[in-house]
Amino acid sequence: MRISALIKRISRQLLRDKRTLALMFVAPLLILTLMYFLFNGNTVDPKLGVVGVEHSLVQGLEKVDIKVKEYEKATKNTVVDDHLDGLLQVDATTGKMTLTLQNDDPSKAKALQMKISQVAAAQVQAKLIQQNPAGAANLIAAKMKTKYVYGDKDTVFFDVLSPILVGFFVFFFVFIISGIGLLRERTTGTLERLMSTPIRRWEIVTAYLTGYGIFAVIQTIIVVTFSITILDIVLVGSIFHVILINLLLALVALSLGILLSTFAASEFQMMQFIPIAVVPQVFFAGIFPLDGMANWLQAIAKIMPMYYAGDALKAVMYKGMGLGEISGDLIALMIFAAIFIVLNILALKKYRTL
């Protein structure tokens, strides 16, 4: 009865606060859409200057979408002046190839280097076949076929990143809005005022979790549905599992937000928790491979809720795993939520021991 009165009040307050509602429901969609377009932008064909390169090699290079420009003579400066991504020079006497890369974007430079060496190798192969047709059979066998365990040859980074992003936005916005919600109740004195009524501490915590939980559920469903249907993010596993993971994550964010608001005296101080409690979560959510991290960093990852959520989301959305395989992650999230909830009830002791 008291709990339902509190839930009703919380929802009513939130519904009247249009800006906050917009932040909760629209902002994640905007950011996800933006990220989607950023990561799916068309790649620009690299520009390569060539000096003394055989015609057949140039054709080979053009075939793999490299824009080739031939020069009589060129130096390092040509690369800079003509905005070339690279310069391939073949020494007329020795036939030795030299590749000068601009390298302002290392990943682009590496890709270009790889393409060129592949084309060059193919040329050499072709020549060998011409000279020695008998050996051709072996060489053709060397042509490789690639198979993928997860995803396919069209998989881009965004496909791996998006499950983590979906989880992170749910975490971030629920954390901020619930934290500030209870904080306002503290700063306006209404929380203290509540303590002069027969309400119990656990009733307040339950009501807050449920009240904001309802909005978190709606947000989760909107964000997940939008990502999958409109943005066409890869979803191999079940959408219900995705929602389940996000709901557990929202519960963790809710209880953590409410708990940290205890230690904030103003909205501004609540914002100060973002770089401390929220941003580091991204680093451990699976965007950077955990295996490559130092041991102590791996240990930190294990105390980050986003680590488990990111792992589970990636498993379901990208790898198509089922509940059985992510149960460990789900249990970890439940433990986080349980710990934070108990701490919340204890933190309210500041006001009243009962």
Binding site: R9, T188, T190, L194, M195, P198
Partner: protein, 241 residues
């Protein structure tokens, strides 16, 4: 019948700062009890401890024969805080309804109590307005209405009439006296206004962490050999210094 409130040897300090020292207060059922004293003397701290919102360092507090803090007893206490704690996004009526639903009250009783409390503080025409659009005095009145909404046996009002115009103040005081006389309610009021203190059955002066003097307004004036409570207040300060 046992006294409604018994405060025994209560001591309280915030950090290193002592606020109340060995306070003893007994308030009989049906009494209108006034707490006066300079700003920062500890009146608010004392009433908060009676409600159980603040922990005492030592001593004990009993309300209606139950040791505080006690959740069941809170049903019987109507508390009005010194600073208004209201939900600005909600209307006056929604605020009243919310607080009313935290107490044991039947649906029909709730409706009737909300109407009564709103009417008492002249807020009925403004009930549908959001509290963010209320004036300071209107917020004060709404806080008072909320304190009355569950029909408690004991009213604890922390400076209830600050920011309320003289006409409404008079009618509120008349209602407080009626509640006391006709419904037998026990009322604690803190105030800085001496003609309000004058209307209390017993007045206690809190100063320097102690109850310096207490008694009926007449007794206080006689013991200090002065004609008004204002002079009692001033003289008590001089004696202390």
């Amino acid at each position: 019948m046992n006294p409604t409130i018994v405060v025994e040897n209560v001591t309280k300090s915030f950090g290193k700062k002592p606020v109340l020292n060995e306070i003893n207060v007994t308030i009989e059922s049906g009494q209108l009890y006034g707490l006066i004293g300079p700003s920062g003397a500890g009146k608010t701290t004392l009433v908060k401890m009676i409600v159980g919102m603040e922990k005492s360092d030592a001593g004990s507090i009993h309300v209606l024969d139950k040791k505080m803090p006690n959740l069941a007893i809170l049903q019987e206490i109507g508390y009005m805080a010194q600073s208004d704690a209201l939900y600005a996004e909600l209307t006056g009526e929604e605020n009243l309804k919310f607080f009313a639903s935290l107490f044991k009250l039947s649906k029909s009783a709730q409706k009737q109590r909300i109407a009564y409390a709103a009417d008492l503080v002249n807020l009925t025409p403004d009930l549908k307005k959001r509290v963010s659009a209320y004036s300071g005095g209107m917020k004060r009145r709404l806080s008072l209405a909320i304190a009355l909404v569950q029909d408690p046996k004991l009213l604890i009002l922390d400076e209830p009439t600050v920011g309320i115009d003289p006409e409404l103040k008079l009618s509120i005081w008349n209602e407080l006296l009626r509640l006391k006389n006709e419904e037998g309610k026990t009322i604690i009021v803190t105030t800085h206004v001496m003609d309000e203190a004058e209307r209390c059955d017993v007045v206690a002066m809190v100063r320097n962490g102690r109850i310096l003097a207490s008694g009926t307004p007449t007794e206080l004036k006689d013991s200090y050999h002065v004609g008004s409570l204002d002079e009692v207040f001033l003289k008590a300060g001089v004696n202390q210094a």
